[in-house]
Subunit: 340 residues, 2 copies
């Protein structure tokens, strides 16, 4: 084939904050599918905080990306050639084909998408992994009850925005935390949060305390770091803390907390009967239909609002990820690798 | 009445480790019950780690003992005079009448004991609060499964010894942690633990790692402090950590962990999908019969072994508590205030 494909490989491992120089753009011939395989053309590439973990070889729940390997990532693609009877050219699929313009797949692990049901990109966000993270973190651990107070950080992000809106549907009072006035205003006016506090404000702890006059019953932990230190003293007896991510710590070479903090935390776990529970969304993938049965309807009816932050071109992925880890995104961050 | 009663009141609050001087022995006339009341003579006084918390006015799940007030504590007593139709002289009762030789009670909150069913003192240990702590911490949070590895510290203590033995009944592999060779030998030969590691050994982390070749699925946290730091890296995916006490931290004016420890912990909570959950046994008091239906039989049949560490005389309570917090006790620590 004359067409040239492009991919971004991991060139080096970051020590603390990653930079675009940790990736290298490579060209390669568009591959040809063998029997049973299909050729995919990437339309959307998802950028997600977990990717920071894959860049590092520190012990984690998933293996790191090897140096020189294509960077891992969720994608929405179009089938352009098929030697697999289950797929035909034009099919749109959700996969995990990484930071590249084209990929070969056996078809295993792909999910066909119905372009009429929802915008294709939603499969990488509110109707996909981030949406399921929000849904099952609440259903299994957070369990917000009517009248309780739920706090979620990264309030306008892919997970936080869904967490807060579902908690509102369940009848909870929702307080968001976000970076900057614009995001806070959006969380309140568009997402319907009761309050949203700017974590960049000098008096953030005071503001958060004021926004939670009855304390906090559920803290959905998707950022880690200093925010949790401010939240912890406000947690009520029997509070639940689903832990799905600790973005603020992904880049940390060393911790920022003072030495009193763990004893204080463990004392609080005891005296307030707290539940801290980590979860990985992939554990819940077999329960996708349970998720879809509620969330698809809410999205269609407009009950759940969703904002995307789309960058153009595969080459924008490295700085897009670096910016995401800094909280620069406003909504679910994606790369449009090629037009639909 | 001619008889004189004695009580130990809280004289001052400790800054870090308490000392016997934090208490003051007082004499007072044996009180006379009014209509509806009974007079109790204390036989056994329980000494428990939670008492350190009551000496402090730091925020906790329970109010502190006021300066000048009788120190709080669980007791087994005999009714010596009654103006309450529900009680008659000679009745033995479990109560919370504190560090004193005599007390007046309305009868509320007391539980009558059957001296034929089990030794009276057991109501303060394996058949009482510590036993229920072990039982419900396992039933509700730890949930050890056959073949899993459970680790518990203070392995020969009131809670730890019961935790390990129940976990054995459930089919788990049990590794104890205790202070000194004598306690470790007892945990293995008498309590039937598979292994027991001496936390005073210089190579304690290495020994614990060797004793848990398949990692740790349940860590029953009843001591806190450095032991948890050694345990944490050994926790398996989906491990459960019921937190019922953090003795090692009760005295701590400042923490001992280094600043990297909280980020590491929170990363582990996420990547290993850990559950850390604090609980207070009194939340489970309404489920006493559920506990008794299993544990009373196990004690009677000898399936559960139980060791007591009994001091004589009310005046031994202050140094008895100080020693308990240092791990000096060998078995459930009690004070025999008066003969049965």
């Amino acid at each position: 084939m004359a067409e040239t494909a492009r991919r971004l490989v991991l060139a080096s491992r970051p020590v603390s904050e990653p930079s675009p120089e940790n990736f290298r753009l490579e060209e390669f011939p568009v591959p040809v599918p063998a029997d049973g395989e299909i050729l995919l053309r990437t339309i959307y590439l998802s950028l997600d905080p977990y990717m920071r973990g894959r860049m590092s070889d520190a012990p984690s729940y998933a293996a790191p990306v090897a140096i020189g390997q294509v960077m891992e990532g969720g994608t929405v693609s179009e089938v352009v050639a098929s030697k697999n009877p289950d797929y035909k050219p034009g099919d749109k699929v959700l996969g995990q084909t990484g930071w590249q313009s084209h990929a070969i797949s056996s078809g295993k692990g792909l999910r066909k998408l119905d372009p009429a049901a929802a915008p294709l990109s939603y499969a990488l966000g509110i109707l996909g992994m981030p949406g399921m993270t929000a849904y099952f973190g609440l259903a299994e651990i957070g369990k917000p009850k009517a009248g309780e107070t739920l706090v979620v950080a990264a309030a306008t992000g892919a997970v936080g925005s869904v967490v807060g809106q579902i908690a509102k549907i369940r009848g909870a009072r929702v307080v968001g935390i976000a970076g900057g006035e614009k995001k806070c205003a959006f969380a309140k006016s568009e997402l319907g949060f009761d309050e949203c506090v700017d974590h960049r404000a000098a008096d953030f702890p005071t503001q958060l305390t004021a926004a939670c006059p009855s304390g906090i019953d559920v803290y959905f932990e998707n950022v880690g770091g200093r925010v949790f230190e401010v939240v912890a003293p406000l947690l009520n007896t029997y509070a639940r803390v689903p832990v799905c991510g600790v973005i603020a710590q992904y880049n940390a070479a060393v911790g920022v907390q003072d030495a009193n903090w763990v004893p204080t935390l463990m004392r609080s776990v005891l005296s307030k009967r707290l539940t801290l529970r980590g979860f990985i969304v992939s554990d819940f993938y077999p329960r996708y239909s349970e998720f879809a049965s509620e969330v698809v309807g809410w999205v269609k009816s407009g009950k759940l609002k969703y904002r995307e932050d789309i960058l153009d071109g595969l080459e924008s992925a490295p700085r897009g990820l670096v910016g995401l880890l800094r909280g620069e995104n406003f909504g679910k961050r994606l790369v449009r690798v090629a037009p639909e």
